[in-house]
């Protein structure tokens, strides 16, 4: 058995591992790096529970080999918010009861984050089309759609909010505009 060395920037941190070429990205994230927020649902590329961002594009990490991600940047659910503050999507899923069992939620949020990055003001149809690759067996999707609409509104509001204070901290200019996901 031969292994190959991979270097992947995961949630801003450079991580390295020696992996068999057959190892799937989702297993690299979960088993090697201990990032178990990314779930394995169907394992057949259908359900989207394993959705992460790979070089900025949403991907089903059960359908990517870890070696394909060598040199790439990966964002998982653990990396979507900064510190203890929830990402607007996480807060909105909470507020709108966008989950019941919660198993699909990490993938659903990662896919929604990608969708809102591409289309900050999606219609309900565009939201439903945008999450067509993510299955939820609890909610019937109604509250998930509401959650994404809520988050979209908040993200748009924060994007368009005037920069109140371009403060200077230790000589460095700091923008007050929040870093939207």
């Amino acid at each position: 058995m031969t292994t190959q060395h991979v270097t992947v920037t995961v949630n801003g941190e450079v991580r390295e591992a020696d992996v068999e070429p057959r190892l799937l990205l989702v297993h690299l994230l979960r088993d090697t790096f201990g990032l178990t927020g990314t779930h394995v649902g169907c394992d057949t590329s259908h359900c989207g529970a394993c959705t992460v961002h790979l070089d900025g594009r949403s991907a089903k990490s059960c359908t990517v080999l870890a070696v394909q991600a060598d040199g790439a940047t990966v964002t998982t659910i653990e990396g979507i918010s900064s510190g203890a503050a929830l990402h607007p999507l996480q807060q909105a899923f909470w507020d709108q009861h966008g989950l019941q069992c919660g198993f699909c939620t990490p993938g659903m949020i990662m896919q929604s984050a990608w969708l809102l990055g591409e289309n900050p003001d999606p219609s309900e149809d565009e939201i439903r089309e945008g999450i067509a690759g993510n299955l939820c067996r609890c909610t019937g999707y109604v509250n998930i759609v509401k959650a994404i609409q809520q988050a979209a509104g908040e993200l748009r509001a924060s994007e368009s909010a005037p920069v109140v204070a371009a403060e200077t901290v230790e000589g460095q200019e700091v923008s007050a505009a929040p870093a939207a996901g």
Partner: protein, 290 residues
């Protein structure tokens, strides 16, 4: 599900990729987006000895020359869907790209990969057949161009040699009075087609149908051109009767298998219906682009 052990290389140029395909002939498999191949590896329906990842080989541009819309093999469904040329001039092709799988699949799955994979229920092969496209492949001896109608040989089987790489798909550039339509019946979002039909219509000056291309997917061992249905339309005025006659001919030419998506007679009837719907749209677009 875990794939069997396999070697993996990501060559920096196509020459190196072709050399590896030559050296490991018969056990090497080209990996592009992976959204068709990796599921097969996980099910162990495919167990290649080595994967040749073409991620570094470029081949992801879309352009037009005098004769062709040229699509690099590594162009993703999404990149194609968003490309200005496609947005402006190719509504049928755009609708196909937007209807493949789901957003994640479209983010990574490539048009060349879909064509090379040749799933009997895939959408792009029917498009290539209906439009009389060409498939460009490169091997150690250089490049060759294969007409789409000589490319899809059988289920998951194409005219690409094991030592060749698909580099480009060429679809005839859209002319005036030409329109395309694509109609797909699917059970649920993201499913493969129960049946899908791709049609192109070229109208003559007098409004009659000068040329027609009709191809079906998911109703035979491989996507196929419904040549009987094409012949029915030539010289006809576009009409519901003519479309229906073509649909019936296409249904008769299909060889569907009964499965969870329906029995044979249902699929034959739906093949006819999808041809009718696709022809309506193709004709409207041909008239609109007069």
């Amino acid at each position: 599900m875990i794939p069997a052990q396999v070697d993996y290389v990501r060559p920096a140029d196509i020459g190196e990729a072709l050399r590896i395909l030559q050296e490991r002939e018969g056990e090497a498999k080209v990996l592009a987006g992976g959204y068709s191949l990796i599921p097969l590896l996980k099910l162990r329906l495919a167990q290649p000895g080595i994967l040749v990842d073409i991620a570094k080989l470029g081949m992801d541009g879309v352009s037009e020359d005098d004769d062709w819309l040229r699509i690099g093999a590594r162009t993703t469904h999404r990149a194609f869907h968003e490309h200005p040329i496609v947005v402006d001039h190719y509504p049928m092709l755009r609708s196909v790209a937007g209807g493949i799988g789901d957003p994640q699949v479209r983010n990574w799955g490539t048009i060349g990969g879909s064509v090379a994979h040749a799933d009997p229920a895939a959408d792009w092969p029917a498009v290539l057949l209906a439009t009389h496209a060409q498939v460009v492949v490169r091997g150690g001896d250089g490049e060759r161009t294969i007409p789409a109608r000589e490319f899809f040989l059988d289920t998951f089987t194409t005219a690409i040699a094991p030592t060749e790489i698909l580099t480009e798909v060429r679809i005839p550039r859209r002319r005036r009075r030409v329109g395309g339509g694509f109609a797909k019946l699917e059970r649920k979002a993201g499913d493969f087609a129960t049946v899908a039909a791709c049609t192109t219509v070229q109208l003559a000056e007098d409004g009659s149908i000068a040329r027609a291309g009709i191809a079906l997917t998911a109703v035979a061992e491989t996507p196929f051109a419904a040549t009987d249905a094409e012949a029915v339309l030539i010289g006809q005025r576009p009409s519901e009767e003519a479309f229906r006659a073509a649909g019936v001919a296409a249904g008769a030419q299909s060889r569907p298998a009964a499965d969870i998506r329906g029995p044979v007679e249902y699929k034959r009837a739906m093949a006819a219906e999808m041809v009718v719907r696709a022809l309506r749209v193709a004709t409207q677009r041909a008239l609109a682009f007069g």
